[in-house]
């Protein structure tokens, strides 16, 4: 898995989820994105699904299926590597 993809994802999340005041360096790749972590919520989860489709061509039609993939930047990167076309 490339370090680049994780860094790219951090930038994309900041942009897509309007995480102003947060820089890529503030995001720990292994830390939880939801709950305490970045304070993301259910709408952010749906927005990450939009991001996956728009940037990586990965379609998720069941939000609960994406739950595990969205646990952290690491898991999200791994999910993209595995599923991207």
């Amino acid at each position: 898995m490339s370090i680049d993809l994780r860094e790219k994802l951090k930038g994309e999340l900041i942009e897509q989820l309007n995480l102003e005041d947060i820089s890529p360096a503030d995001i720990d790749s292994s830390a939880a994105l939801f709950g305490d972590g970045l304070g993301l919520d259910s709408i952010d989860a749906l927005e990450i699904i939009v991001l996956l489709e728009k940037e990586y061509g990965i379609k998720i039609s069941d939000p609960s299926a994406g739950k595990e993939a969205m646990a952290s930047i690491d898991s999200l990167a791994a999910f993209i590597e595995k599923n991207r076309k």
Binding site: D41, S42, I43, V50, P63
Partner: protein
């Protein structure tokens, strides 16, 4: 001072009068069917849509020349025209206020019209002008609780003596704007919805235009009337789209609407999304109403947004007058965390009071208590 619902009209895929809608429900018919209109969605969808040709011909026959009105405006004018045929009130009197409840009005015209027409106040002003209303209309846009909110607000304004009568209109039509948004929330069910069921996977959208007359005038004699006893609205203060897991706002709304009174039947919001139905069950249970029969009529009409609360209140009071409980179409296996009494099949039952519930985006919740009186 008591406030009564004098009459109501429903325009929906199940008919253009309250009687027709109620009869169709009793015979088990649903307005939902699979639509493949690419203007609304790229994938086929279960929707409850009103037929355009029927709207046009009915409008021409009942209201008159429809040119110059949008589809949304025609629905509003048609339901109020039909309503007034069975009402004794004067809509143009200084004693009467028109209350419009809608979430999106003319939004389907976002790209094809000048923005003025898209404003909800424009739609309301047009309705008021058509009926030569004396008072400025009041417009409520409170997401999916709008219809119940309109009843609560109308009752308060009449009770306070500000007006003698209110003509409450609830309407929303289905457009790509609305469909695509609910698709982005992944909250649409590919099958007809299953409120409170273990296998529920989401809601269906529907359209309706509904109206009712609320008045302080008591009918003479022994004739039965429906009193709007009390209503309340409370926020969850939790999340702008997700319902509170503890049913916080709805619980408070139920508590204030009942204020210690008993209730025979609950008409739930019951959208058939996983979270909404469970939240409602939690709130109903917290209020100690587990034994009270509950239904959702979303399986007949879909979720009609700004019309929903009013539509479902009128259906519920028709059933109450008829001493019947309407079964929850789509419900077979109990699928919410609390043991609430969801009605499966339609049947006879004495009902003297009912509670209508609604919840929506923005964390809003509303409840209104209706009761038979003489």
């Amino acid at each position: 001072m008591s406030v009564y619902i004098e009459s109501g009209n429903i325009i929906s895929p199940l008919g253009f009068s309250t009687e027709e809608n109620y009869a169709n429900i009793l015979s088990g018919r649903s307005g939902l069917r699979l639509h493949t209109d690419s203007r609304l969605s790229d994938v086929p969808l279960q929707l409850a849509l009103i037929d355009d040709a029927l709207l046009e011909s009915t409008f021409a026959a009942v209201v008159g020349d429809g040119s110059g009105f949008t589809r949304f405006e025609k629905f509003c004018l048609l339901t109020v025209t039909c309503l007034l045929k069975n009402s004794s009130i004067d809509i143009s009197s200084p004693d009467t206020v028109i209350i419009l409840s809608t979430t999106k009005g003319n939004i389907e015209l976002l790209e094809s019209y000048d923005s003025r027409r898209l404003h909800l106040w424009h739609s309301a002003a047009l309705i008021a002008k058509h009926f030569s209303a004396y008072n400025k209309p009041l417009i409520i846009s409170n997401a999916c609780v709008s219809g119940v909110a309109a009843l609560v607000v109308a009752r308060r304004l009449i009770e306070s003596g500000k007006y003698n009568n209110a003509v409450v209109v609830g309407a929303d039509i289905i457009s790509r704007f609305i469909v695509s948004g609910f698709q982005s929330f992944m909250s649409l069910s590919p099958e007809p919805c299953k409120p409170f069921d273990a296998k529920r996977v989401g809601l269906n959208l529907g359209e309706a235009a509904v109206s009712a007359v609320l008045t302080r005038t008591k009918l003479g004699g022994a004739e039965q009337q429906i009193e709007v006893v009390r209503g309340a609205m409370h926020n969850d203060a939790n999340h702008i789209s997700g319902p509170s897991r503890t049913g916080e706002g709805l619980f408070h709304a139920i508590k204030d609407a009942l204020a210690g009174d008993k209730v025979d039947f609950i008409s739930a919001h019951g959208t058939a999304t996983a979270y909404n139905d469970n939240m409602e069950a939690v709130a109903i249970s917290r209020a100690g109403l587990n034994k009270v029969p509950v239904n959702s009529v979303k399986g007949f009409f879909g979720h009609t947004l700004g019309a929903a609360g009013l539509l479902e209140a009128i259906i519920a009071l028709e059933a109450m007058k008829d001493n019947r409980l309407i079964g929850t179409r789509g419900y077979s296996e109990h699928g919410v965390s609390e043991a609430i009494n969801v009605i499966k099949d339609t049947g006879r039952h004495e009902v003297n009071s009912l509670l209508k519930l609604a919840s929506g985006f923005g964390g809003s919740n509303a409840a209104v208590l209706l009761r038979k009186t003489r």
